[in-house]
Amino acid sequence: MEEYSVVGKRLPLKDAAEKVTGRAVFNSDIKLPDMLYAKILRSPYPHARVVRVDTSEAERLPGVKAVLSKNNAPRNKVPVIFGEQKLFNIPLDKVAFDDKVRFVGDEVAAVAATSGKIAEEALKLIKVDYEELPAIFDVEEAIKPGAPLIHQDKERNIAFPMMIRIGDVEAGFNDADYIFEETFKTQAQQHVPLEKHCCVASFDSAGNLTTWVSHHAPSALHELLAEYLGMPASKIRVIKPYLGGSFGSKLDMHIEHIAALLARMAGKPIKITLSREEVFTATVTRHADTIRLRMGVNRDGTLTAIQSYVLSREGAYSYKKSVLGVTAGAIIRFYRCPNTKFEGYAVYTNHTPAGPMRGYGNPQAMFALESMMDMIADKLGIDPIEIRLKNLVQYSSLPECLALGAKKIGWTERKEPTKVKNAKKRGVGIACFTNHSGAAGKQRDYSAAFVKLNADGTTQLITGATDLGTGCNTTLAQIVAEELGLTLDNVAVTAGDTSSVPYDSGAFASRTLYMCGLAAKAAAADVKKQLLLRAAESFGVEAKDLEITGGSIYSKTDPRKVMTFSDITREAAENLSGGALAFLGKASCANPGHGDSLGALFTEVEVDTETGQVEVVKILAVQDVGKAINPMVVEGQIEGAIQQMTGYALTEDVILDPKTGKMLNGNFANYMLLTSADMPNVEVSLVEVAEPMGPFGARGMAEGSTGGVAPAVANAIYNAVGVRLTELPMTSEKVYKSLLSR
């Protein structure tokens, strides 16, 4: 691959000093003069009609300035990002402060007061008459005809179905030597961003709304607020300050519309900060899926048919049709198989709504598919790596990833499971994974950028990108610096303010570096072109005879002809004879293709056969990331995904009381996140095969390894002790029970 001077370097984040000194101002740190604090009253019932809400006493409490409930809230539907309802023709299903509550945590009223304490006191004074309705927590029950309806305007508790048929699946099963069938279950997982969701909203006296949000699609939110509030977008400004993590959790409108409504009512700025319990119960979770997978295979390991039936738990409201689409895509597309049938249903239940979460439907699919591939390999006596190579659709660099990982982990020394009792046993497992660069299918996926040249020859990248801890304010600047032959210091970044940055679809689908990177590179190339033309005119040579390095332009034919960028801006300003005076590059890009980032994840586990306790000893992720614009940032993304997904594999679970529907573990003490003491030894190896469409060959990569961890751990447990876990999380209790019945 080509050598670059800024791209590909392990450079520290541009904002690292602000963060490490505690000076970085996050949303939760913002305080405006005369600001009010708002709290939300939430339903204690999973399913109930809200018969009457009496807020009169709360309104009389000194310090209370605005109260919002079904009595006075707008009745229009809350729009969702990506405009999915229009793309897929799915009716919106959520009204804020509705006549019905559909999960424990659904909003019933909101109070703005001069302090958080007064707002909380006021919530206690609100009287609500509920008429309880039967609640449903099981997707199989919910989908039955005649089940109590969660949304009255639906015939069944199905948000939407999804059917895909390719070839003839029955013929595929007829041709198969063996048919494998298994049901896999995955749990709801919470994103647990460290910073709680927070929003500040303020109207000026001309009726313009400014809102500071913890949200990673500010352009999209800008549109949603305009639509919901019935305001022109030109009167709304969305600002995203430092954002303390999200992983998909801050991609829908959870509190921003409520803050704006209260601010409008009270005529004062409003701040809403969710409690940690609210983050757990009243935002979104990962979709819990039940996946029935049936696969036909020939004696030599070639797949002949893949049939899947998926019940994806949407919870109370449906935000994302595309999550189930990604699940379908992973099951259908990853391996070559002429006959596939996918039947999926997004099922309403009385759970906290499911929404986007890192991996976005892919980890559920890969847990089922990659577990099944090992089951097939085991039965047919084929090496698990071999059977994958045999069936892979996308050859690209995955064989290289597999070979490198196999060598590092000592794959050839892997032993078969034995049934020694009362011992700690080790096993090694593998799973492949995949990651799109950007959103696939019908989704809007585009980015724009400006690159402004300062008079002194330094530049400002103005990007719609959202840095939520992903480091894109640094990596995008690296791209601009490389394109213009500048150092990183000479590229500043403006981002996260809809009043000054161009449109961007948002930070999701591993698209930021890829798409915003393409736009930033093209905008930098545009300003470069303008500079070259100007210099060519000044030198009296052709632009093609010029070269840019280190912030200067040289003539290739006459090395005495040199102008720095600042010489060019000065000359342009002094000589008003035309041409570009204000050097401003601009670009707007649509996704040119979803260059996949593939990889393989290897793990070694130790299973205590006396207790069922699984210790993940080592995880090795090998991923083709294309060109790593900043390898330190890229490794950090993979390492972080591994922490989240090791928890997904072993410990993390949103646990509800089956009677009341209340979350039992909505806090750090009981939602079992892995700490630094729990984490295995993690090693990341980058394979860099340039993606022809990506900026400097980069691929979107940050969600890929999410698909690999759970199946690799399940496969390693099987390799250690010969039991197959098909349900996540693989707790010691489940492992122990499986050991007893083997």
Binding site: R10, L13, V20, R23, H191, G244, S275, E639, Q643, S676
Partner: protein
């Protein structure tokens, strides 16, 4: 209950503050003294983002009643580079090793690392892991944080 005037040493300077006696240390540091590097993420002493150093020990300021800090010495993240006139070596290592992503856990993480290294200048990897286990990070997977702290210990030996 009315406010009470109390005195403590914050980041090397005497601070006289009027506090609600029922307030937690975090509230006084953030709301009265404007030290926003003390982050709030759980309010129950479970995540470590509000870590400060109180008389040499790393504590969760969200569960320390402010009256327990009266007359004592408190260090927040803001004090580290102010005292030295430059970044603390732990801060430098966090930057250099890529131990920072969203940055929300970073102040607490740095202070827990400082409390560890002040007490044990030559920790093993396991000791680092245990010392930081009260500080949750959801971005980094801890790999680069642990490496940064071990690197500082190595440098301090020289």
């Amino acid at each position: 209950m009315g406010k009470r005037l109390v005195t403590m040493t914050v980041n090397g300077e005497t601070a006289e503050v009027a506090v609600e006696p029922s307030a937690m240390l975090i509230d006084v540091l953030r709301d009265e003294l404007g030290l926003i590097g003390v982050k709030d993420a759980c309010g129950r002493g479970e995540c470590g983002t509000c870590t400060v150093i109180l008389d040499g020990k790393a504590v969760n300021s969200c569960i320390i009643p402010v009256m327990k800090a009266v007359g004592k010495e408190v260090w927040t993240i803001e004090g580290l580079d102010r005292q030295l006139g430059k970044l603390h070596p732990i801060q430098e290592a966090f930057i250099e090793y890529g131990a920072i992503q969203c940055g929300f856990c970073t102040p607490g993480m740095v202070l827990s690392a400082k409390a560890l290294l002040d007490e044990n200048a030559n920790p093993t990897e396991q000791e680092v892991r245990v010392a930081l286990s009260g500080n949750i990070c959801r971005c980094t997977g801890y790999v680069k944080i642990i490496n940064a702290v071990l690197a500082v210990a190595q440098r301090m030996k020289k």
